[in-house]
Symmetry: C2
Subunit: 468 residues, 2 copies
């Protein structure tokens, strides 16, 4: 029984686990190389590290069985949703069992009066909203990918609506979790708030599957707004767009979405989605409310933009136009590829206090220019959060080195401005090294103590977030 | 060195700690019985358990010194703010050192562009808002008492504004904490969101000082609304008032406050604050926004109320009238005393999904009637959270027994409706017994594992939340 701290599990243990899983799960367990490969990280430049077996459970109890089996043999487990995370979260550095939750994708209950629902973790955000369509409710959190909600909980995901509706941290009421010892816990009751003990819900949100496997999620929902208006507004500079954002937030305008695309990202949108936009920094904005309040919000925003030299504002009044606009925004990752075909996209994110945002984005653009990399910028600027989709030629070691150094400078720049090394993508494998720059040692020690308390064998998604 | 698990610290250890504290802190440390007594629980029927010494540190570093000294001698520490919590949080069941943060009451920074500020934990919510007055910003969370913000963080407090602005959980960006080993950690950067590791901020919020002592708080602030309108609306029944609340929330009206007072509580308000109200269930409501949106919100709420037989709505248009109204609401605790002078007020709270709220309140009123206790009800009904201020004659053992049994039924009723034993007051000493009814054993085990990982000596506010 080899501890994953020191290496892969002993062959006998791994064989025992594989044999037992194949026996118990039949066709719902597989060691096929192709399947194992698709369960390793693939969406970014983190090298894939496939698991030894992939299993597709149907119930919490089945997951508890798998966990107990793996704990007995000290074999690592890696929870898997859609595999759309960027930082190597689903990699299996010491092998082990990928627990794919995609079959656990049911909407278990909708409580319309309470504005909540209960789902299984493999359900994706789009599938949920599809199923909610007739209820007048929706789930607002929207990372770029159609990610599983279990994965979104685990990375503390957010997206374009977070400025108004918060992040996953704010939208999970309760979780059912299989702990690393196989025990099943529920973190909270369905009441909207509680002071009944430690906030285990929030401890699991953003834990990246390192403290347990989420098997059921109670989510807050929002009412579909009576009126929505959206549009795009060009600005003479990134600084002006950021200043408009700050003023919008400060004025208390409850903007639902306010997204920056820099000139290069606008060019990428044009190439990929044929938007025909002027290639200048843009804010994509959206307002939710009553007809009257949406009109008022839009007018106030328009005044702010005009004062800063922005405009003219172009409205997308029809639902289809709005969808096209936001689809283009969500395709930022794919559109970036069009700028340098054949390259790998390295998607990364940082987040700074909004007062430092313009400074941070502008300095990053200068660095891009000086370094000669291709890296369009999009940002959830209402939160001070922005993304780079850096294009890297993975066949060119020099280019890889240049990109790596550039990303390092980006994180250090953000940290120097009281920012964080990741606003919404998570730590995974790639950003572990930055946690010590971001937090004091005592904070990392506390995280490590918690990890060790709940997962003393270090078998639950080991090698992510903190080293133990 | 006696472990507080098994009893009070050894006399030699306690003496050593007291001698060292008196030497280091001079007049800022005291063993005077009167001061020790005011640092034990006093506001409810939980029996006071005074500490052995009270110390008044000025800095984080001084607190780290105290913690290291206490850890060395295994002497319990109890963080103290204003002592206005209800569940015995500041009691010292095994004696020890009360660490009074009242001298650490400074506003350290206001970042107006970022809508945040940095404060010391002994600052009270009213003092903060007083100091923010010229910035156009305010801190919205308002429990009844003028509590210290460190205490509000620790109990995961909320109050009347929570339906719009969230609870303390939603309004803390970062904390500086002295851990039980004396290490100083900061839980997060000042960025508005982050996915950089475990959410230690939320772990400390609501931990009731059992995992560390909070020494600095970065809080989110809100802009003072351009327009505010408030008023009271009578309803024919508690059911009708709750239904109006549900419809208001469901319609997406961003009500800032929506507070229920039952007929007995209205009578208490009349007695204490001379409001001259009809003694029927009332909703106290408040809307924040622009002139136009506030008007629209109020109109929509009025329509909902009228449909349910409520009204007429009485507006408090002037700021002074509004203050008088909300002061009366915040004085619910004191006003209840007027109903049965000479009694002790037992303030308690539960929270249920809003769909079960009317059922829970009505069943509780029936229980009140059947039991013959005096217990007015107020509720943050937009959150499904309500309070009882039960009046108990502490000289009458029979009355104490009746009250105790009644409170037990209240909690069980709430739990049976997917609710929690406390929405905002916290667990403290008195509600520990209910956590096992509220959570599965695995959840309590996880809480205990975390407590033991961070406080292996069990010296940080021991005897609260979880038994170890």
């Amino acid at each position: 029984m080899m501890n994953p701290l020191t290496g892969r599990p002993a062959k006998a243990d791994l064989d025992a686990v594989i044999a037992q899983l194949l026996a118990q799960f039949g066709q719902r367990a597989t060691t096929l190389p192709g399947i194992r490969q698709t369960h390793a990280n693939s969406l970014t430049w983190v090298a894939p590290q496939p698991p030894d077996i992939v299993v597709f459970p149907d119930t919490t109890e089945e997951i508890a069985d798998i966990v107990k089996l793996c704990a007995k043999h000290r074999v690592p487990m890696i929870p898997f949703g859609t595999g759309t995370s960027f930082e190597g979260h689903v990699n299996a550095p010491w092998g082990g069992v990928s627990i794919d939750t995609s079959r656990m994708n049911r909407l278990l209950a909708v409580h319309a009066e309470d504005l909540d629902c209960v789902i299984e973790p493999g359900m994706t955000r789009k599938a949920l909203n599809e199923q909610l369509r007739d209820t007048g409710l929706f789930f607002p959190i929207d990372p770029g990918a159609d990610a599983s909600l279990g994965g979104m909980v685990s990375t503390r995901a957010s997206g374009t609506n977070a400025v108004r509706y918060g992040t996953m941290k704010d939208n999970v009421l309760s979780l059912k979790v299989v702990l690393p010892n196989g025990d099943i816990m529920t973190t909270a009751r369905r009441a909207k708030k509680s002071s009944a003990g430690y906030d285990l819900t929030r401890l699991m949100v953003g834990a990246e599957g390192t403290l347990g496997i989420i098997t059921e999620i109670t989510l807050k929902l929002a009412g579909i707004p009576e009126a929505i208006s959206a549009g795009i507004c060009p600005f003479p500079s990134v600084q002006a767009a950021c200043d408009a954002t700050i003023l919008t937030i400060q004025s208390g305008i409850p903007v639902a979405r306010i997204e920056l695309a820099d000139e290069l990202q606008v060019k990428a949108f044009n190439l990929h989605s044929n938007l025909g936009l002027n290639e200048t920094p843009m804010l994509f904005v959206e307002f939710h409310g009553t007809e009257q309040s949406v009109e008022e919000q839009a007018k106030r925003f328009g005044d702010i933009a005009a004062d800063l030299g922005g405009g003219p504002f172009e409205w997308a009044t029809k639902a289809e136009e709005r969808s096209r606009l936001w689809q283009a925004r969500h395709d930022a990752y794919w559109s970036a590829l069009a700028l340098r075909p054949g390259c790998k996209v390295i998607a990364t994110d940082v987040c700074v206090p909004i007062s430092r945002l313009a400074e941070c984005v502008v300095a990053t653009q200068e660095d891009i220019k000086a370094t000669g990399v291709i890296a369009p910028i999009v940002g959830h600027v209402g939160d001070g959060n922005f993304h780079l989709t850096l294009l890297c030629d993975m066949d060119d070691p020099q280019d890889i080195e240049t990109c790596r150094a550039f990303l390092h400078r980006l994180v250090q720049r953000s940290l120097a401005m009281e920012g964080t090394c990741t606003g919404e993508h998570g730590v995974g494998q790639e950003k572990m090294k930055y946690l010590l720059d971001e937090h004091p040692k005592a904070t990392l020690d506390a995280m490590r103590a918690i990890k060790q308390a709940l997962d003393p064998l270090n078998i639950m998604n080991p090698g992510k977030i903190v080293k133990v």
